[in-house]
C-alpha cells in the first residue's frame, strides 16, 4: 500500500464525498424546512448542470454568468415544486409517505423530460480556474478539485451562518421547527417553505455544476446522486445540514477505502450495508438530534 | 413480599428525569377488587407514576409488584396480558374502525390463533373470531352501545369514547384497570354514568386505580392517596383526606 495510492484514493474519497455532501445538504435543508424527503434532489443537479452546458456551449455566455443562471434555475424549479404540489398536499393534510412518492414521481418526470429535450449524450463542463495539475504526495490533483473542496466548505459554512444570522434564515428555521408557533408570531410559514425549496434547489444545482467537470452529467445520473445524497444526509441525521456535509465526507472516504482495502466491486455493498447499520444502531445518525424511532 | 391480598404493591419507588427526581420513595398498594384513588396537583408526578405502573417508563429504584410478581422486566404487552390494563387521558379509540370492531380488538388477547391459521382461516381461527364477535356483542349490550355498534369510532362524542375505551379494556378480563383522568371532558350526567360503571366493575371483582382531579368522582374510592412532589403525603378515605390539614394547605392554600 504505497503512499501515492493511499493519497490518491483519499483524495478521490474526499472529492466524491463532498459531492455527496452537497446533495445531502440540499436534502437536509429541504427536510428540515418542510419535513419532505426530497427523492428528486439529484434532478436539481442535473437541471442546474444542463442549464450551464446550454448557456456556455449553446449561447457562449461567460462561464460565471452561466453558473449563476444554473443556480437560479435550481431555485426556480424548487419554488415551482413547492407552489404547484407541496402547498396543495399540505393544505389537504396528505399522509406522510405520499410526499416521498410525489418526489419520486417528479424525479421520474424530470429525468424523462431531460432525456426527451436534451437527448442521451453526457456533457462535461470545463474545470474552474486553470486546467493545470498539482502533484501532492505523488497524487495527481486537478485545480478544479481544489475549487470544489473550497467552495463546498464555503457553502456549508455559509448555510450555517445563513440559518443563524440572517433574519430570513432565522424565520425559516423557526417555521421548520414549530410551524404553528412561528405562524402565531407573524411568520408567513408558507413563504418560508417556498424559500426552503428554493434554497434546496439552488444547493442541488450548485452541486451539479461543481461535479460536472469531473463526472459527465446525463439524464440518468439524477437517481444515482439522490441515493448518495440520502446516504450522506441520513449518516448526518437528515435534519442537520452540517451533519449531512460530514456524513457525505465520511461516505466518500469509506467508499475509497472499501475500493482500496477490499475490492471495488463490493463498494456499494459495503457503503449501503453500513448505511443500514448506522440507521438502525444510531437512530439520530452521527450528529443529528431528531429521534428516528418516533416516526 | 406482602401476602397475596394486594393485586398491586409499590415499595419505595423512585424515578428522576435528568437529575430532577419526579418520584421519591412512593409506597402504596391496591387490594383485590378495591378502588384506590390517586390525587395530586399538576406536576405532582401522577402521570409519571401511572406510566411507571403501566410499563411505559422503566422506573429507576424500588419495586412494582403485580399479583406478587416483580414487574421490572415485563413489557407493556406482558402486563396487559396478565390483566393490568391502562386507559389514556384523552381516549385513544381506533377511529377508522366501528365501535364493535374497537371492542373486538380488545378481546384479541383472549385468543391464540396465529397469522398462519388466520391466512388459511383454519377452524381455530374462525372459532376465535366467532368468540371475539360474540363477546363484543355482549359488551355492546352491557355498556349500552348496541345502537352505535356499526358507527365509526371517529364520530363518537367524548363521553361515548370514554365508555368505549373502558368497554374495550374490560372485555379482556383485566384484574386491575387503570383510569387516567376519566372524567375530563365529560358533562355531569356522563360522569354520573361513569361512576355507576366504576362501581359495577368493582362488583365484578376488577380492582381499579383511579387518577383524577375530580374530587366528586374520587368519593367512589375505598382509599385515596395524595401525591405531592413525588411523595405520598396522606392516605385514607375521602372524608379523612378533606379534613387533613397538610392536604388542605397544599390543595386549597388555606
Amino acid at each position: 500500500m504505497n503512499v501515492g495510492l493511499l493519497a490518491q484514493s483519499l483524495l478521490a474519497g474526499i472529492t466524491n464525498g463532498l459531492t455527496y455532501a452537497l446533495i445531502g445538504i440540499g436534502l437536509a435543508a429541504i427536510f428540515k424546512g418542510s419535513r419532505v424527503p426530497n427523492a428528486m434532489q439529484g434532478e436539481f443537479s442535473v437541471v442546474g448542470a444542463i442549464v450551464v452546458v446550454l448557456l456556455l456551449t449553446g449561447h457562449g455566455w461567460p462561464y460565471w454568468l452561466a453558473i449563476l443562471c444554473g443556480g437560479l434555475s435550481g431555485a426556480i424549479l424548487g419554488a415551482f415544486i413547492e407552489v404547484a404540489f407541496i402547498r396543495y398536499m399540505i393544505r389537504n393534510a396528505a399522509p406522510e409517505d405520499s410526499y416521498l412518492l410525489l418526489t419520486i414521481g417528479i424525479g421520474l418526470s424530470i429525468s424523462a423530460a431531460v432525456l426527451y429535450f436534451f437527448g442521451r449524450e453526457s456533457h462535461l463542463l470545463p474545470g474552474f480556474g486553470s486546467d493545470n495539475l498539482y502533484i501532492i504526495l505523488d497524487a495527481v490533483v486537478r485545480e478544479h478539485v481544489i475549487w470544489l473542496i473550497a467552495i463546498s466548505i464555503l457553502l456549508t459554512i455559509g448555510l450555517r451562518q445563513f440559518y443563524r444570522t440572517t433574519s430570513v434564515g432565522l424565520k425559516m428555521m423557526a417555521a421548520s421547527i414549530d410551524p404553528v408557533g412561528a405562524a402565531s408570531i407573524g411568520i408567513d410559514v408558507t413563504l418560508m417553505r417556498t424559500f426552503t425549496f428554493m434554497l434546496g434547489g439552488a444547493l442541488g444545482a450548485a452541486a451539479g455544476i461543481l461535479i460536472t467537470p469531473i463526472i459527465p452529467v446525463d439524464y440518468m445520473i439524477g437517481l444515482q446522486l439522490t441515493l448518495k445524497g440520502f446516504a450522506a444526509a441520513i449518516l448526518g441525521g437528515l435534519t442537520n445540514p452540517l451533519g449531512a456535509a460530514i456524513g457525505g465526507l465520511v461516505l466518500g472516504i469509506i467508499e475509497a477505502m472499501a475500493i482500496v482495502g477490499v475490492s471495488s466491486s463490493y463498494k456499494d455493498v459495503i457503503t449501503f450495508s453500513l448505511l443500514i447499520l448506522i440507521m438502525i444502531a444510531m437512530p439520530q445518525g452521527l450528529l443529528g438530534r431528531a429521534g428516528r424511532t418516533g416516526g | 413480599m406482602s401476602g397475596h391480598t394486594e393485586i398491586l404493591s409499590l415499595r419505595s419507588v423512585g424515578h428522576s428525569f435528568g437529575g430532577f427526581s419526579v418520584l421519591k420513595n412512593v409506597n402504596f398498594s391496591v387490594p383485590h377488587g378495591s378502588i384506590v384513588g390517586l390525587i395530586g396537583p399538576n406536576g405532582s408526578g401522577k402521570t409519571t407514576l401511572f406510566n411507571v405502573i403501566s410499563g411505559y417508563i422503566r422506573h429507576q429504584h424500588g419495586l412494582v409488584a403485580y399479583d406478587g410478581h416483580n414487574m421490572q422486566a415485563e413489557s407493556i404487552q406482558a402486563r396487559s396480558s396478565a390483566g393490568l390494563v391502562r386507559t389514556f387521558q384523552t381516549p385513544k379509540v381506533f377511529e377508522q374502525m366501528t365501535v364493535l370492531e374497537n371492542i373486538m380488538a380488545g378481546a384479541c388477547k383472549l385468543t391464540r390463533s396465529g397469522v398462519i391459521e388466520d391466512i388459511f382461516s383454519l377452524p381455530r381461527s374462525r372459532a376465535d373470531m366467532r368468540r371475539i364477535f360474540e363477546l363484543a356483542e355482549e359488551a355492546c349490550l352491557k355498556f349500552g352501545m348496541e345502537k352505535l355498534r356499526h358507527d365509526l369510532a371517529l364520530r363518537l362524542p367524548a363521553g361515548q369514547r370514554r365508555v368505549l375505551e373502558i368497554a374495550r379494556a374490560v372485555i379482556g378480563r383485566p384484574r386491575l384497570l387503570m383510569l387516567d383522568e376519566p372524567s375530563s371532558g365529560l358533562n355531569t350526567n356522563e360522569i354520573a354514568s361513569l361512576r355507576r360503571w366504576i362501581e359495577q366493575l368493582r362488583a365484578e371483582g376488577i380492582a381499579i386505580l383511579l387518577v383524577s382531579h375530580d374530587m366528586e368522582l374520587m368519593t367512589v374510592a375505598d382509599c385515596v392517596h395524595v401525591l405531592y412532589f413525588g411523595e405520598i403525603i396522606a392516605s385514607g378515605g375521602m372524608d379523612e383526606i378533606q379534613k387533613n390539614t397538610q392536604v388542605r394547605e397544599v390543595y386549597l392554600g388555606a
Binding site: N2, G4, L5, Q8, S9, L11, A12, G13, T15, N16, N92, A93, A94, P95, E96, D97, L115, R120, E121, S122, L124, L133, A139, V140, R142, I214, I215, P216, M220, I221, Q224, E255, A256, I259, V260, S263, S264, S265, K267, D268, G295 | E95, Q96
Partner: protein, 385 residues
C-alpha cells in the same frame, strides 16, 4: 408510522380524465395492408434505457439496409418491411414486443436484441417456433449454444479477448492492467484470464467497477501503482479511460469494441488519445469491401458508421440471404438450415455453422487507434494461431 388518514380526498374531475385517456389509447390502430404483401422482418432493439447507446446506432444501420434493398427491388421482387420495437433495455419488454411481432404482425424473422438479456428472452419464443433470429449481442449463457436458429452477428467475448491479447503481445506488453465493468467487462475479463498464459502475459492489477459508476479514480490509482506495460479497459462508458488519463498514465490503453463509438469518444473529452480498439470498421479509412457501405451510410446520415451501425446493416442482409437461398415462402425449419452457412457481410465474414455460432476469425479484426480524438486504422493484422 401512525399517519392517520384524516385527509379528505376530493372526487376530482381529473380522475375521469385519466380513465378516459387510458381507455382511448387501448385500441391500437390495426396495421393496414398495402399493395403487394411486404416481406416483414421484426426488429427489437434497446432504444430507451441503459442500452440505448447500442440500439439507436443499430437501428440506423438496419433502416439504411431496408432503404437500399427496397430501392433495388427488395427480395425476388417483394419489398421488405422492418417493424421496429423498443424493449426499453429489459427482458420483460422484449418478451411482450416479441409476442406482438410474432403473432400480431406475423413477421417472417426477428432481429434482436441489442443486449444479451433480451436476446435470450426472445430466443425463448423464437426457438420453439424455429423462427430465424439474428441477435446483435454476443454469445450469452450456455442455453444459447443449443438454440440452432439464433445467430449472433456480434463477435463472441472469447474472440474479443483473443484480439486484445494479440495486440498486447504485438507491442511487447508482458504486464497488463485491467479495468472492467461488472457487466460485459466481467465476461471478457474471465476470457482474458483463461487465454493470457498462452500469450505469456500476466495481469498485474485488475480492478472492477459497477456499470453505473460515475467515478473510477481509486481503481485507476491502484492500477497505476502496479505500473503495467499497457492497460485493458472493458466497459460501455468513457469514465474509466478518463480516470486513467487524469492520473497522467501514458501507457497504451487497449479498449474492447463496446467503446468504439463516436459518442463514447466525445464523452472521454481530451482523454481520447493513444487508445487502441480491436474492432471491425474504421469509417475514415475502410477496407475495400466496406467502402461502399461507408459511402452509402455517410450519404444518408452525414457521419461515419461504426461497428453497431454495421451490425444492424449486416443483420438484415443475413436474413435476406437465408430467405433467398430457401425462397421467401419457405417454412421456418428450411430457413434455419439455409441460415447456418457462411456469409460475406460488409462488417466482416461470418460462418454461422461454426460452434461459436458466428465464425468470425481473428483475421477479420480491424485495429483502430484514437489519435487526438480521431479514429485511425492500424496496419496490424492478427493471424489465426
Amino acid at each position: 408510522m401512525t399517519a392517520k388518514k384524516t385527509y379528505h380526498g376530493r372526487a376530482p374531475a381529473a380522475f375521469a380524465l385519466i380513465v378516459a385517456g387510458v381507455a382511448f389509447l387501448s385500441t391500437p390502430a390495426a396495421a393496414q395492408r398495402s399493395g403487394a404483401e411486404p416481406f416483414k422482418i421484426g426488429v427489437i432493439l434497446a432504444l430507451t434505457g441503459a442500452g440505448a447507446g447500442l440500439g439507436i446506432p443499430e437501428r440506423s444501420g438496419a433502416l439504411l439496409a431496408e432503404k437500399i434493398i427496397n430501392s433495388k427491388g427488395g427480395v425476388n421482387g417483394t419489398p421488405i418491411q422492418l417493424v421496429i420495437e423498443d424493449d426499453g433495455s429489459n427482458p420483460d419488454g422484449a418478451i411482450s414486443k416479441a409476442n406482438s411481432l410474432i403473432h400480431r404482425e406475423k413477421v417472417s424473422a426477428l432481429i434482436g436484441s441489442s443486449q444479451t438479456a433480451s436476446t435470450v428472452a426472445i430466443g425463448g419464443l423464437t426457438d420453439p417456433l424455429k423462427m430465424p433470429q439474428v441477435a446483435l449481442s454476443g454469445l450469452g449463457p450456455a442455453i444459447e449454444r443449443d438454440r440452432k436458429c439464433v445467430l449472433h452477428v456480434a463477435p463472441s467475448q472469447a474472440l474479443n479477448a483473443k484480439a486484445i491479447l494479440e495486440y498486447a503481445s504485438s507491442i511487447g506488453a508482458k504486464k497488463l492492467g485491467a479495468l472492467y465493468d461488472s457487466g460485459y467487462g466481467t465476461v471478457v475479463y474471465n476470457e482474458l484470464r483463461k487465454l493470457s498464459d498462452a500469450y505469456g502475459i500476466a495481469f498485474v492489477a485488475t480492478e472492477k467497477f459497477e456499470i453505473s459508476a460515475t467515478d473510477t479514480t481509486t481503481q485507476a490509482a491502484k492500477i497505476r501503482a502496479a505500473q503495467p506495460d499497457a492497460i485493458v479497459v472493458v466497459g460501455v462508458t468513457g469514465v474509466p479511460i478518463r480516470s486513467l488519463r487524469q492520473l497522467q498514465m501514458k501507457q497504451t490503453i487497449i479498449a474492447a469494441n463496446g467503446l468504439a463509438s463516436y459518442e463514447t469518444v466525445k464523452s472521454m473529452g481530451d482523454a481520447a488519445d493513444n487508445v487502441v480498439f480491436p474492432e471491425f470498421l474504421v469509417g475514415e479509412d475502410p477496407l475495400p469491401h466496406q467502402a461502399e457501405f461507408v459511402k452509402l451510410f455517410h450519404k444518408e446520415y452525414g457521419r461515419f458508421p461504426k461497428i453497431l451501425e454495421a451490425v444492424g446493416w449486416d443483420a438484415v442482409h443475413v436474413i435476406l440471404a437465408a430467405f433467398k437461398k430457401a425462397d421467401v415462402g419457405a417454412n421456418n425449419e428450411k430457413v434455419c438450415e439455409a441460415i447456418r452457412s457462411t456469409f460475406k457481410g460488409d462488417m466482416t465474414d461470418y460462418d454461422f455453422s461454426a460452434d461459436d455460432l458466428n465464425g468470425i476469425k481473428l483475421s477479420n479484426i480491424v485495429y483502430s487507434k484514437l489519435v487526438a480524438g480521431q479514429f485511425t486504422r492500424l496496419p496490424f493484422q492478427a493471424k489465426e494461431k
